[in-house]
Every structure is written in structure tokens, then in C-alpha cells.
Symmetry: C2
Subunit: 382 residues, 2 copies
């Protein structure tokens, strides 16, 4: 069985459905993965995520390495056992976290020396170390250690970042091949996979260069990195589109850090298969809800006496039994359950959206349904 | 059908099981009620509480009156509808809250003028007003407006408080009889009930006086108030015991603000039928867990690598799938799910404890099981 199989293609766009094999069973793509940075999707439990039929969640090598520490996770038998999550886990390498701590790190060719944001202790991440951590975590999909430059970023710096990313991807792959008992990383069924991350900021030529370099190395999957970091939306969409031209059509494409319902529809239409984003839980904790009628902030005054469900088209643990007025009250009263209910709804919204998107691709109605969704979602300012 | 029926009595103590009728169905006593001060048991949802087979929860007239406000709850159709909780609700009158704000309130014979702790706005609670609020909330069991003095409290002040409590209980009852369409408050099946609250601090004579005065007024249930406010445990237990001598044996007795597993066993043995306490959720948020082996603080260092369940004898949503090490990690990492898991476990622990206690009373093993429980619970310092 192939590690990734394309099952259906939309005729009018590049959208496709597929099946990604992991040791925890298969994942139907396009898929949205909620983010469990510290071994937990914020405010939600494994049982909540199972109920939503979540197929894949993210973990973060940087955060988990620092806390609880690899000794604890190894003794627990890996991240799946530690967190009681028996479906697929993709781990980010920690590159994004390490590079965003401008004051606390020192980059060399060998790797990055950095201080823990928790206790200031000194640590060193190399491509080899980051593979070692992700192997110990027991990830189903591991990511290469990349340099993710901030936005804005001049072309010189962006070029340096993609070149380091390329050299480190090579070292990651070598370390992975040496460590992986199956010796491949190419995603034989049940095998973990190591994916590469492309960079290039918002420079089309650099995007092409980075993508082509990594494609040459023949990874079983590719992430588009360095986007959704503050650049204009149109620049992001252009970079995704350009990246698609150079990524092999038969391999899974992962857009990191996206996102919004609008962007999910857009990027699926360009051929993206995998997404992750903290947005549903972060927005949830701020009282921002995705609904079929658009985004709403439940803390706003009009919801005080609105006894309709947050989203009348939703059957999640929030919408099935609580009103906007009740959720508004919980937020105003500072009840922690408010954060959980809103996060649960938002994650449910994106998981169900992806299920619907897959159905429209299979059914040949992707473009029509995208238009209907966006008209409803963007049409009303709530 | 009687509003309260005693079903079984323990031979060696005053423990009894009973059945309390409410419009939401019957409640098996002795019962522990989690506290949902602001219309939500902290960190838990109605679906969580239903899963634990929670029979009764508390609401608070003071808090709900201030936020979300009676207009919202009335428009929602009452507190049950607003909070999506279709089992029984007991509401505290708010006396405890109003009287504890020493700087913000002015007491007269008529009632208490106070400032909102939220926005400083001025409000007035009288016995009549407090009944009106609880009727609007749609409580199944309403409480009289009482003066709950702090601890310590000299005898003069304690006497003044119980006398005001008596006069206000009379006004509460009159207001209730006038308002209640069934005209009774005596707890005909399906009817809400108004219960009185006894006071008297830790003075046995005052306890007797307060209890006898209120018993004369013939309420369908009685709460022992003004305890668990900082007095020594033995003083509390003595006051409960003395109160029992004067409370009618055929009516339900409610011990407010208790408590710990030890105190629940003790007080049930004295004949108490109903309990409420914030302890399981407050302790939970602090990382303190009740377990069959005693209390433990999951944040302590030894649990970092302890992969056993928090309580091996528990099957709650925490213990059935997560380890002590994982919960320790969630607390250390500041994940909100930690607070929810620990609260869920503690509430489950007390609900299951009460179920077990009822079974021991019916089965004639109350004293033996109490001894076994306490030996295990107090025997080990964890």
C-alpha cells in the first residue's frame, strides 16, 4: 500500500482527496490538524477530539523537549501513550519556535544554541538532535529542522534561510535514514515519514529554488513553511500557488499555520492536502467563533439576550445545547468552561468543514459549494 | 407522594437514605451537590455532570441576580433552560455573599443594601426580593434569606444574627406562600420547596434556639448554616450533632458548605441528607485530588514520572485514560485542561462516595465501610 494515494480530483481546480497511511491508520485528506503544542490541544481532551473524529493532531518538538522533557515521554512510551491519543501525530521540529526567540538564540552551521523560555537553561538543537527528539516522541509524521525567517525579510536573509534549510534537510534525512529501522522514511504503510519544509519568504524565485532543491532530495511529503507569519494574504496565496507548480503532484502537501475557513477553501483549491493552525483554539479562548454565517465575537453586547444557538447549522457540544446568551454569560463571568466550549466549537467547525470539502471534491461540487460557503460566511458582518 | 421519604436507617448511627421529590424527578439522599455559583460548575459542563449522574447542583441568587441578571434568565425561561440542566437545582439565597462583603453593605431590619462586587452599582435585597429572585430562577429548592455571621463571632452578635434570620425566615415564608401557586412550599410532589437556614455560630444554646424557632414555622426542609466558615472541626461536628437533636427526624437536613470526604461520612452518620461544597472544584483547580488513598497534590515533583492513574480505584474521565505524570505535566505547563480534569475527578469522587455511602446504609455496613474508607484515606500521606 502506498503511503499516499490520491483518490479523487476536482475538475475545475487543483483540489484533490487522498488517503495518507500512518501506523495509526489512514488519514483522509484534505485534513485539518488541531495543534497540541504541549501535548494537549488547548482546553480539549483526547476524548473530545475523538468525538469530533479528529484524524491528526500536532505536537511540537521544542515545547515537549523542554517540558515535560524527553525522559518523561520516553518512559511513558512515547507521545501517543503519554497523551492517550491513538490516532496520528505530526510533530513540528521546533524550528519556528527556536528562530522566533531572537534574543535567546545563536545560529551556526551546526545548529542553534538557545535558552529555554521556561527557566533560561541552555540547549542546542541540530538537525540530528531534532530527528532524535521526534523519533523519541514517536511521531507519525516528522518535520525537518528548518529556518523560518520572520516577515518582512529582505531577499538576502530569505536566501540564507532557505540555503540553511536545504543543508539541514539533507542532514535530517541522513539522520533519519540512519535511525529508522525500515531505512526509508518514504512512508511505507505503518512507517513514520519525514517531510521537508520549503522556505523563500514572499519571493517567487526563492520559493521555486527552495522547493526544487528539496524535491530533488525526494521526501515523501512537503510542507510550505514561512507563510502565515504576517505577510499580506494575497502574497501568501501567490506563494502557495507558485509552490504547487514545483511540488510533485503525487506527494502530500502541507500548508503550515493556516487557518481560516476562507483560506482552507482557497488552499485546497490549489492542491493542499494537510493544514494545521492554532486559530480555532486561540480564537475560541478570545470568544471569536467561526459560524456558517461568518465570524462572531460572543462577548459582544448583542449576544447577552440572544437565545439562539451559536451556529444553528452546528451540532457540536456547544451548539447542540447552549445558547449564545449562555456562552456570552460564561465569558463575561470568567468561567473557564467558556473557553472550552468556544474552542470545541471552532475545532469542530474546521473538522466538519474539511469533511464537507472532501465530499464536494468527490461529488464534483467543490467550486459551487465553495462559492455558497463564502457567500454565507463573508456576506454577513456579525 | 411525600416530598421526602426515609427509605432505610443505619442501626448503629443516625445515617439514613431517603428520596427527595422535585419537579425534575427524585433525588436519592444522602446527596452531594456540586456548586454552580454563576450558572456553571466551574470547568464542567452539564453533559459532564449528567455523565457522573449528578442529581442536584447549586446556584446562587446573589451572583445570578448581578450577572447575567434576572431579565436574561427570565427570558431564557429560567435557570434550568439557561444552563441546559434538567435535573434539580437548589439556590442559595445570597445571604452568605451579601453579609461577607463587610465594606460594601448596610443592614437594616428591612434588608441589606449592598454594592455589586462587579461594577459597584447599588442594590437592595430583602427577604421578599430574594424569594422573588429564586422564583424567577425556577429553583427546585429555595433557601430563606439568612444572616450568616463570620467566625469568630461573639455571642451577642450571633444572637442578633439568628434573631434577624428568624424574622426574615417568617417574611420569606409569607412571601413564598403568597407567590407559590400551590400555596404551600411544603413540597408536594413536583412543587418547589422553601427551606429554612439555622444559625447560632458555635454556641449550643443559640443553635438550639435558632433551630427550634425555625422548626416551629414548619418548613419542609432545614439547612444548618453558619458552619464550615473557619471554626475548628470539632466545634463544627458538635454543632451538627446538637442541631440534629432539635431538627424533625422526618424532614431533610442540609449541611451547607461541607465538604471533605471525612466530613461527609461523619455528618451522614449524624443524619445529614444533603451537602454542597466548592471544595472538589476549588481543590481541583489547585491540583489537589481526592483519592481512595487520601489527598494528593498532583503538582508535586514525585508525580512527574508516575505513570499510574491518579486514583487506581476510579473510572472517571481522568483516571480511565490519563496518568499522574500527564496531569502533572498539564498543570506545570499551565494547560486549562488540567483544571478541568482535576475538577471532574474530584466531583466524580464525591458523587461516587455518596452512592457508596447510600449503599452501605441500605446494606447495613455503614460503620464498617466508614472505618475501612477512613483508614485507607487517612492512613497514607501522599
Amino acid at each position: 500500500m502506498k503511503s499516499f494515494e490520491i483518490l479523487a480530483r476536482d475538475q475545475g481546480t487543483h483540489a484533490r482527496t487522498g488517503r495518507l497511511q500512518t501506523a495509526q491508520g489512514h488519514i483522509d485528506t484534505p485534513v485539518f490538524a488541531p495543534v497540541g503544542t504541549q501535548g494537549a490541544v488547548k482546553t480539549l481532551l483526547s476524548q473530545d477530539l475523538e468525538k469530533l473524529d479528529t484524524q491528526l493532531i500536532l505536537g511540537n518538538a521544542y515545547h515537549l523537549y523542554l517540558r515535560p522533557g524527553m525522559d518523561v515521554i520516553e518512559k511513558a512510551g512515547g507521545l501517543h501513550a503519554f497523551t492517550s491519543w491513538n490516532r496520528a501525530i505530526l510533530t513540528d521540529s521546533g524550528g519556528y519556535q527556536v528562530f522566533s526567540m531572537e534574543q535567546l538564540r545563536k545560529i551556526t552551521e551546526e545548529g542553534v544554541e538557545f535558552r529555554s523560555h521556561i527557566d533560561g537553561s541552555l540547549h542546542f538543537f541540530s538537525p540530528e538532535k531534532v530527528i532524535e527528539i521526534q523519533v523519541a516522541l514517536g511521531s507519525d509524521i516528522l518535520m525537518c529542522f528548518d529556518e523560518c525567517p520572520p516577515y518582512p525579510c529582505d531577499e538576502g536573509r530569505a536566501r540564507k534561510a532557505l540555503e540553511l534549510t536545504r543543508r539541514w534537510a539533507k542532514r535530517c534525512k541522513d539522520a533519519w535514514v540512519a535511525r529508522n529501522p525500515r531505512g526509508s522514511g518514504k512512508g511505507v504503510e505503518g512507517n513514520p515519514q519525514l517531510w521537508a519544509i520549503t522556505q523563500g519568504s514572499i519571493y517567487p524565485d526563492l520559493r521555486r529554488e527552495s522547493t526544487q532543491q528539496l524535491v530533488e532530495m525526494d521526501f515523501p511529503g512537503y510542507a510550505i513553511g514561512g507563510l502565515s507569519v504576517g505577510e499580506p494574504r494575497l502574497a501568501m496565496l501567490e506563494m502557495i500557488q507558485r509552490s504547487m507548480e514545483w511540488l510533485p503532484v503525487e506527494k502530500p502537501r502541507y500548508l503550515m499555520g493556516v487557518g481560516t475557513p476562507e483560506d482552507l477553501w482557497e488552499a485546497v483549491g490549489m492542491g493542499v492536502d494537510v493544514f494545521d493552525c492554532v486559530l480555532p483554539t486561540r480564537n475560541g479562548r478570545n470568544g471569536q467563533l467561526f459560524t456558517s454565517q461568518g465570524r462572531l465575537n460572543i462577548k459582544n453586547a448583542p449576544y447577552r439576550e440572544d437565545f439562539s444557538p451559536p451556529d444553528s447549522q452546528c451540532d457540536c457540544g456547544l451548539c447542540a445545547r447552549y445558547s449564545r446568551a449562555y456562552l456570552h454569560h460564561l465569558f463575561r463571568a470568567g468561567e473557564l468552561s467558556a473557553l472550552r466550549l468556544a474552542s470545541l466549537h471552532n475545532v469542530a467547525f474546521l473538522i466538519k468543514l474539511m469533511r464537507k470539502i472532501r465530499k464536494t471534491i468527490t461529488g464534483g461540487t467543490f467550486q459551487a459549494e465553495r462559492r455558497i460557503f463564502l457567500e454565507s460566511y463573508q456576506g454577513v458582518a456579525v
